[in-house]
């Protein structure tokens, strides 16, 4: 039975050159379906990967109660002072609690891709902010001097927006700033930010002593519960506490889900269109081999071997198409940098990520098209009457 | 008798690569109005080529094909198509009917090239189908008809536009004896009653026997024998 099927399959495959145009059209239409799916998945996965790599489990983010996002929040230095005394907060070598009060002003950057203005966060930070970000390092230049009008930009900002070269003087509103350094944080959202001294920002942008968020390094991830209890019992505080990793993971959800919800239906609709192509090709394959199949049947081959041969041919074409699509998307899109408006109402720079999971999804979709497209042609192949031997 | 076709010094050569294949050379013949000519001869003797030249679907290498004063070999493609639709009816060995059209629609096909109204066309189609005795099958598609019936539809299609000449290429080549005889009788009827000039290429001596003038073509030359 196996050798029969193999023999029929080989006959099928050898006859592909007779239908090269149709077979090629099938391969490419399936490749396009897979490419569209993988393109969307790469976008969604890239965005999700950037946000989920942001934040640590043992860092607590505190915002004003009900404000939901850093942008909406407003806190005072007093809030920070009270929080710093809370239990469970880690201390540095000097015995100081690792707590950072921060704020940000949204400023305009020019997106390289569209030459239009886009929102970038100019974050005012103190000396402990860098300690609170894992992997923070200056990759070029140096850190800003406290109290100065110097700033450092994230690597992603430099990549996607023009005008942030080292040494460049930039005007944000009425104030001039000098870019003195470039920092990286291992591909996380912070790389889409610009950092400067908090005092200077409060001063230049009339923020008084206000801050928007407080970050605190906890002795452990579990210590956040203790912090929550402390804030709950402290009448002077009205704060929402979140684990930093969760805070960013929540922001990933909406956008990447939306991309997925767009990508899958589009790919499935296109798959139905490509199915027609596969179906057509396989019918034509069976039609042109009518006499051969009948001859094989006449010398004793089973009808099922003709059917399986047809299915195998179709699925081989589909897998080729799926691989072509996956390879093309990988070569063209993997690692491509893009940016979109994130949860903080500022640009989040991310890289398209073609993941193994997504490729498997794409190949499975291709196989489904190949399989579904061959069912009826295979039945037809199995039912070819023996008398077709005599046909011209 | 008036001459319908006059063929003068007709030759036809094919070049295949460096070789030149001569089908016939310096062929002369006349076909009179009302003739029923059969042409027999071995394969490759040029029977079908001659038929194609008469029908204006092929052109001679040299020489003239004159049909009632019209130099068929000199007509442009467009004029030739028009001339064929008005003057010639073709009957083929494998009927060559359109599989997706009904018998009546197949017969109506040549009438689409005329300015007849659909009502007139319908009348003509029914008359033609009636003459070949297959009016009762007018709604059937070719696949639902036997070989003999399909050839009758083919004949109806050839005569429906009322051409003077019918060119038949092995019209009974795919039919059994009895059916072939019926088809040939129909052709004879068309020749005798409607005065259609018929040129028929055939392998079958019995079929040739229905003709009034039997020609043998061999290596591009005619060996003529009058009908008994």
């Amino acid at each position: 039975m196996f050798s029969q099927t193999l023999a029929v399959t080989m006959i099928n495959l050898r006859s592909i050159p007779q239908r090269w145009a149709l077979s090629l059209a099938t391969i490419f239409s399936i490749a396009l379906v897979v490419a569209v799916l993988l393109g969307f998945l790469a976008m969604a996965n890239g965005f999700r990967a950037t946000l989920s790599s942001t934040g640590s489990d043992d860092v607590a983010v505190m915002l004003r109660g009900g404000s939901q996002a850093e942008l909406n929040s407003g806190l005072s230095r007093d809030d920070q002072r009270i929080v710093a005394e809370a239990p469970g907060i880690a201390r540095d070598a000097a015995g100081e609690p690792i707590v950072s009060g921060e704020l940000y002003v949204i400023v305009d950057g020019i997106k390289r891709s569209s030459r239009t203005e886009a929102n970038l966060p100019l974050r005012g930070v103190g000396p402990l902010a860098a300690t609170l970000r894992a992997d923070y390092q200056i990759v070029e230049g140096r850190a800003f001097e406290p109290g100065s009008n110097e700033l450092v930009v994230g690597q992603s900002v430099q990549r996607e927006f023009s005008g942030f070269d080292l040494g460049q003087v930039i005007r944000l509103g009425t104030n001039e700033w000098v870019v003195v350094g470039v920092f990286s944080t291992g591909g996380s959202v912070f790389e889409s930010e610009i950092w400067a001294d908090i005092g200077t920002i409060q001063n230049l942008y009339q923020r008084g002593t206000a801050i928007q968020s407080i970050r605190a390094r906890m002795t452990s991830a579990d210590a956040i519960e203790g912090l929550e209890a402390f804030i709950e019992n402290e009448p002077r505080l009205n704060l929402d506490v979140t684990n930093e990793a969760e805070y960013y993971a929540d922001q990933a959800g909406g956008t990447s889900d939306l991309i997925m919800f767009l990508g899958w239906p589009l790919a499935i609709a296109m798959a139905i269109g490509a199915l027609a192509g596969a179906w057509n090709t396989m019918y034509s394959s069976v039609d042109t081999r009518m006499k051969e199949i009948a001859t094989l049947r006449a010398i004793g081959f089973a009808g099922s071997s003709a059917a399986i041969g047809t299915m195998v041919e179709s699925m081989i074409l589909a897998v080729i198409g799926g691989l072509v699509g996956a390879v093309a998307v990988f070569l063209i899109f993997d690692g491509i940098s893009a940016s979109t408006l994130g949860g903080g109402f500022t640009q989040v720079v991310f890289s398209f990520a073609v993941t193994a999971d997504a490729i498997i999804n794409g190949i499975v979709l291709a196989l489904i098209i190949g399989f579904a497209g061959s069912i009826f042609p295979a039945i037809r192949a199995a039912r070819i009457p023996l008398l077709a031997v005599h046909r011209a | 008798m008036t001459a319908l076709y006059t063929l003068t010094d007709l030759s036809k050569k094919y070049t295949r690569g460096k070789e030149t294949l001569t089908i016939f050379e310096e062929l002369n013949m006349t076909i009179d109005q009302g003739d029923f000519i059969s042409i027999m001869g071995p394969s490759g003797s040029g029977k079908t080529t001659l038929l194609n030249l008469l029908g204006g679907i092929d052109r001679p290498s040299s020489g003239a094909v004159d049909c009632e004063g019209v130099r068929v070999d000199k007509l442009s493609e467009g004029k030739l198509a028009k001339w064929r639709s008005a003057h010639v009816g073709f009957i083929f060995q494998f009927y060559n009917l359109m599989p997706m059209l009904s018998a009546a629609q197949n017969v109506e096909l040549p009438l689409l090239l005329t300015s007849l109204s659909s009502k007139e066309r319908k009348k003509r189609v029914e008359t033609a189908l009636d003459i070949v005795g297959i009016l009762d099958r007018k709604g059937h598609r070719p696949a639902q008809l036997s070989g003999g019936q399909q050839q009758r539809v083919g004949i109806a299609r050839a005569v429906v536009a009322d051409p003077k000449v019918l060119l038949c290429d092995e019209p009974t080549g795919d039919l059994d004896r009895a059916t072939a005889d019926e088809v040939l009788e129909t052709l004879q009827l068309l020749n005798r009653e409607l005065n259609k000039t018929i040129v028929m290429v055939t392998h079958d001596p019995a079929a040739a026997g229905y003709a009034s003038r039997q020609l043998h073509l061999d290596k591009g030359r005619f060996v003529e024998r009058e009908a008994v």
Binding site: V105, A118 | E108
Partner: protein, 385 residues
């Protein structure tokens, strides 16, 4: 019977094949129609922008506010017909996830800035007279089942009142709608005064100003004059046309046009290949029949037209089905998505372009086979047999 009968019968002689091709063409046009309608709504802010409307924002970024004094200072600029101002309220209803786009505006002037917003006259008067009135878009009202006369609280996730609360009580006294379907009516507006006087912090600041010029030709001049007026002040301004402002905002999300174009391109490349190769195959199978038609005297140009018409017919059958289905889906989804994508409908230019695409697809897939049918030599076709 006429040529169309033959064309039709040729097309549907292999029914399954015709259905499959129709299906794949249908899907390409379904994708095109649905994405086209989506894109139309997406860019409605740019398309619906009034030619003489400018937006003045803080030069740092449009999220940064300006002193209220700017509103009166700007009035002196020449070429201005009307100025209004607005603030982002960040509202939600009961739960933070019931997010509601809410603006605190200068009531009379703002409605003059946007003449395309239609309000029944007596409701308009009520809105201007009642400081606690919430002017609600009809789509938003429909989403929450609100009616004129309802009293509702809205919370802000940004602002607090000086008593420490963040909920403002409103009286829904007026509803507005756009005078065209594409104009969104999924947000709410209320008096700046009501907002400003109860704020705990950040009083007397405005978010942005809307400037109507007396003539679109004056836009550049007016924009320059406004920005010059506030140059070197604590809050410099940046004034652009409404269309440019909207376009820049859409670009922040990403190059949606390119993404949609790629998907539509992929869908059409697919059917072009499938339909193209199948038409070539279908005409090849019919070589003998075409030779017979020519023998019967059908002129070559007529054969050309018949074959081309066949692929155009196929393209239109599939295309119209797809476009029809897209229209059904878009119209069906329009009320469900009114809050998110207001004014979703099948736009005329998408329909017209679709017709162009149908013709183009038909021509592109039919031209090759039609040419080979036209050139077909009768003798060669018969000899092959």
């Amino acid at each position: 019977m006429n040529d169309l009968t033959i064309i039709r019968k040729n097309l549907f002689r292999k029914k399954l094949r015709a259905i499959l091709l129709t299906l794949s063409i249908m899907i390409a046009f379904l994708i095109y129609g649905a994405l086209g309608a989506f894109y139309n709504v997406w860019t409605a802010g740019v398309d619906m922008a009034a030619a003489n409307r400018l937006i003045t924002v803080n030069r740092i970024n449009f999220t940064v506010d300006m002193p209220i004094a700017y509103f009166s200072r700007i009035q002196s600029v020449e070429g201005i017909e009307n100025v209004s101002h607005a603030n982002w309220f960040g509202g939600y209803y009961q739960e933070p996830r019931n997010f509601i786009q809410t603006f605190a505006i200068s009531p009379e002037a703002y409605l003059e800035s946007y003449p395309e917003l239609v309000i029944p006259p007596e409701q308009r008067a009520d809105f201007i007279a009642d400081r606690t009135c919430l002017l609600v878009g009809v789509d938003l009202a429909a989403q929450y089942g609100w009616e004129v006369g309802d009293r509702i609280p809205l919370n802000s996730n940004i602002w607090q009142q000086d008593d420490g609360t963040s909920d403002w009580d409103f009286n829904i006294c007026a509803l507005f709608d756009g005078d065209e379907e594409e104009i969104p009516a999924n947000y709410a507006m209320f008096h700046y005064e009501y907002y400003n006087e109860s704020l705990a912090f950040n009083r007397d600041r405005i978010g942005w100003m809307v400037v109507n010029t007396t003539d679109p030709d004056l836009n550049d001049q007016v924009a320059r004059d406004i920005d010059a007026l506030f140059a070197n002040s604590s809050a410099e301004t940046e004034t652009t046309t409404e269309a440019a402002f909207s376009r820049a905002f859409l670009e922040q999300v990403g190059n949606i046009a390119m993404i949609l174009l790629s998907v539509i391109g992929a869908a059409f490349a697919t059917i072009l290949m499938i339909v193209g190769t199948t038409m070539v195959m279908a005409i090849n199978e019919r070589t003998q029949e075409i030779a017979v038609m020519k023998t019967l005297g059908f002129p070559a140009p007529r054969i050309f037209r018949m074959v081309l018409s066949e692929s155009i017919l196929l393209s239109f059958v599939g295309g119209l089905l797809g476009l029809g289905l897209a229209t059904l889906i878009v119209e069906g989804a329009s009320s469900a998505l009114a809050g998110f994508l207001p004014g979703l409908s099948m736009p005329m230019d998408v329909v017209l372009t679709a017709f162009g695409l149908m013709l183009g697809l038909g021509l592109l897939t039919g031209l090759g086979p039609a040419l080979s049918a036209q050139r077909l030599s009768i003798i060669e076709a018969f000899n092959k047999h």
